[in-house]
Symmetry: none
């Protein structure tokens, strides 16, 4: 079975599906089943509430056990996504965040383009009741929304995976959407981006810019949104870190606000 799984994943090579703080094992199983219907096999779980493995997930997966068997569990979103180049946050409605918003269909074309260029992407889904938090969305490059009846938008987790997966599958024959030409560089990984954010925020903490403390989270989110949107290359991350280091250089350490 492991061999089959490996072969299938290698042939299909679709985006990873990242479930952030999923609650019920049953929903994880249904999401796995939905994934395999549309050729998606890389499932990642961020701190599943009821632990892992989960028997209810197996019961609900209806034959998609190979997806569950290969699923990986992570303590937090950053570690679950650090090898990915692009992260898509699936949300039910607009969250007034400064992110590019794509329909599931538009996102599918992008995801095909990512794959064609050898870049790794992930589709992120939030917890059943609450969806993704603003902080989680802030870690994504783009927002994927599923168009629904404005008077009744209430898809459950597995149904949202169905639509996103279905569009991914349907986009197989479409010409990849135009994407940024990275030249000799490659898109920065999440790890590289997080390194840049840590560096920048550390300097801004030292300088007293991220003050007062209750405003810090939204200030950080807004700053990150700018660089997320820019879809930085690895080289650009290095350039920005060099620039931050240069500007901070010579400043007396410990000189606060």
């Amino acid at each position: 079975m492991a061999g089959t799984n490996k072969t299938r994943a290698a042939v299909l090579g679709g985006p990873s599906v990242i479930l952030v703080h999923p609650q019920l094992g049953e929903n994880i199983g249904k999401a796995a089943r939905a994934m395999l219907n549309f050729g998606l096999t890389d499932l990642r779980l961020v701190a599943p509430r009821d632990g892992w493995p989960n028997e209810k997930a197996v019961a609900a997966a209806s034959g998609a056990a190979e997806v569950l068997d290969a699923a990986r569990v992570y303590p937090d979103l950053a570690s679950a996504t650090e090898d990915l180049h692009f992260l898509y946050a699936t949300t039910a409605r607009d969250r007034a965040m400064a992110k590019e918003v794509l329909t599931a269909r538009e996102a599918a074309a992008r995801l095909r383009g990512d794959l064609a260029q050898g870049h790794k992407s992930g589709l992120m889904f939030g917890a059943e009741r609450t969806g993704l938090t603003n902080d989680e969305i802030a870690q994504a490059d783009m927002v994927l929304t599923i168009p629904v009846n404005p008077a009744f938008g209430s898809l459950n987790l597995a149904q949202a995976v169905v639509v996103a997966g279905y569009e991914w599958f349907m986009a197989a024959d479409a010409t990849p959407a135009a994407r940024l030409d990275y030249g000799k560089s490659v898109p920065a990984t999440r790890k590289e981006l997080n390194g840049l954010f840590d560096h920048l925020e550390n300097e801004l903490d030292i300088s007293g810019f991220l003050y007062p403390p209750d405003k810090r989270p939204s200030m950080v989110r807004n700053l990150r949104a700018i660089f997320e949107r820019a879809a930085l290359s690895d080289q650009e991350v290095r350039t920005l870190r060099g620039a931050i280091k240069a500007i901070a250089k010579g400043r007396p350490r410990g000189g606060g606000a």
Copy 2:
């Protein structure tokens, strides 16, 4: 609620959804929920196994009770569909029948065409375990199939309704392609952007980062490209300038490379 329902149905006017011999109330409720997400409100039940009304259906409908309340029950497929002009049979895979076979997307375009011409259409789904019988499919004008992974095709009833309903909804969606939502901000003017670039490059000149001189033009170009690509708002330009100022603060002026 009945008034709301009538208004909504009149406005939306989508195809009827016909569940033939559905077994579990839970699945009927989930199908109703899936329908309403995509603006479908006319649910017809052919001889539901566990009778009607069904409390488990209500519990699973998650707020789509208005679809269940308006649902009609029929003893057989013929009576459930006699007012319809076109009947689409949803099947998991080809059944070697002499029917036109359409993908869900192709069928959605047809259904929109039916509506535009004032014709009534229905989407028919079979029982959970067995799907539609050949006799039932024979009563349809066309077959609707949902493209899935050939190695694992296993959508459940409600998920099949999700995909068919989603395609129906998308076929009408004339929403312009996604654009960045600037919220309360506005896109930065060229003047604001140039002010940011001057500010950043001045600090980097002071720090000796833009060195040697023959490399300066390409380094500046690469840095500007990052911020151009981010499509900054006016507020974001102010935030970035504040961050640059904060990091540079306290650095001895004139301290070069």
